[in-house]
């Protein structure tokens, strides 16, 4: 009997907002699926699109990028820069056929533990429905590089 598909989701989060929000979700004993792998970064401005590509390259089924709401950046405008970059990169991914449902962006503040837990739940459900990212996995397989995450 095969096991049901459990998606692997990589989340790149800003330490000042979303990471703290996740922390709040934890201390509030909110439940959310364990499919998420968090990578904590100093700011959304530090999140290079290369990270997203790397996550896919290593076999992620979905990617979440999340940080402070506009105006709340610890470094005053890191998230504004990130926003432009995402707009452009998202369009590029769309044009090259990476389903946008797999790459999500959000603003989650340190006070939004509930939003965090809900987003992770809905994201995991969505990606579970989409299934594994077979098209990308076929490419990875071709390289014969060990896939581990």
């Amino acid at each position: 009997m095969s096991k049901p598909f459990e998606p692997k989701i990589v989340a790149f989060v800003c330490t000042y907002c979303t990471y703290a929000g996740a922390d709040l979700a934890g201390t509030s004993r909110l439940k959310y699926p364990p499919n998420i792998r968090m990578v904590r970064l100093p700011c959304t401005g530090r999140i290079s699109p290369m990270f997203i590509l790397k996550a896919l390259q290593k076999g992620a089924d979905g990617v979440l990028v999340s940080g402070c709401h506009p105006g709340d950046c610890h470094f005053t405008h890191g998230n504004y820069h990130a926003r432009r970059r995402w707009t452009v990169f998202r369009a590029l991914l769309n044009f090259t056929g990476i389903p946008l449902e797999r790459i999500r962006f959000s603003w989650i503040s340190a006070a939004e533990g509930v939003k965090f837990a809900e987003l992770i739940s809905s994201l995991t459900e969505d990606i579970r429905k989409l299934g594994p990212f077979e098209q990308y996995k076929a490419m990875i397989h071709e390289t014969e590089a060990p896939v581990s995450l």
Partner: protein, 277 residues
């Protein structure tokens, strides 16, 4: 006097008067319908220049050759409107001093070449505005864009996978691009290695994505990558899609002037963010 004669004379004058130390233009290529870059240092060399419909390379990339402009002397260069735009971008990105560049501008339409008024990058402001207003796409290219946009993500992925499969990672697209002036390209970086360097489909996919991303908001659509690609990947198509995106989202048309802020190094507080949850 034909436009070619005029420009040869102009280049010879620039060189003999000592105003410029070098003129970069187009000389004969390996076949009669091809042109290759010609570097004229004396007035006699200027007689070898060609200005015709076959001159399609964007020569501005030569300007960022290491040390070429460091002696503060001027350089003359034959440029089409796209080339002038790339000089503007290079100036905006502090790669060169636009005062050192003497532009011999020309434009080509349906096989006929005509001259452009002005010698400094800043003389072409109205031309840039006109280019922004009247963005044109060839019918063939537009048809392909429409076809791709109408596909499902799976089909699009398969389309690009088939295209990128052909890539042999020769990096000709990078070498030919005037915007790819980094001393160390991210793909040559192996600590950490972001992009697979072998030319399997995944590595090719990543490389082409990274390339398109780094050129978004900077590409002037001169088509150099398209012409350079030995396996005919429609590279300009991706760049064009990115150019449309920055124009629609941020009203940014690359290379408008030499003080234009790079689109991904600036922001507005009310930038669109429809997709962010």
């Amino acid at each position: 006097m034909s436009i070619q004669e005029q420009y040869r004379k102009k280049a010879a004058e620039l060189l003999s008067s000592g105003e410029v130390k070098l003129v970069i233009g187009y000389g004969s290529g390996s076949t009669p319908d091809r042109r290759r870059a010609l570097f004229a240092r004396t007035a006699d060399d200027a007689a070898l220049f060609h200005v015709d419909a076959a001159c399609d390379a964007n020569l501005s990339g030569y300007l960022v050759n290491e040390g070429l402009l460091s002696d503060k002397k001027k350089i003359g260069i034959f440029l089409k409107p796209e080339g002038i735009r790339s000089v503007n971008i290079l100036a905006a990105e502090s790669q060169l001093d636009p005062d050192q560049i003497v532009i011999l501008g020309f434009t080509e339409e349906n096989g006929t070449v005509s001259g452009l008024q002005g010698t400094q990058a800043s003389d072409f402001t109205s031309l840039m505005t006109a280019l922004k207003e009247n963005r044109t796409t060839s019918e063939k290219e537009q048809a392909l864009v429409d076809k791709i946009e109408a596909m499902t993500p799976q089909e699009r992925f398969a389309f690009w996978q088939a295209e990128f499969e052909k890539c042999i990672k020769c990096y000709a697209c990078r070498q030919v691009c005037p915007m790819c002036y980094c001393k160390r390209c991210i793909v040559d970086n192996n600590q950490p290695q972001w992009v697979h360097t072998s030319s399997h489909t995944l590595g090719n996919f990543e490389w082409n994505l990274v390339r398109a991303f780094h050129l978004s908001g900077r590409c002037v659509e001169c088509g150099g990558c398209d012409r350079a690609c030995p396996v005919n990947i429609p590279l300009r198509l991706i760049n064009r899609r990115m150019a449309n995106e920055v124009l629609d989202a941020f009203d940014h048309f690359s290379g408008m002037n030499q003080n234009q802020e790079p689109v991904l190094a600036s922001f507005k507080k009310d930038d669109p963010e429809t997709f962010i949850l």
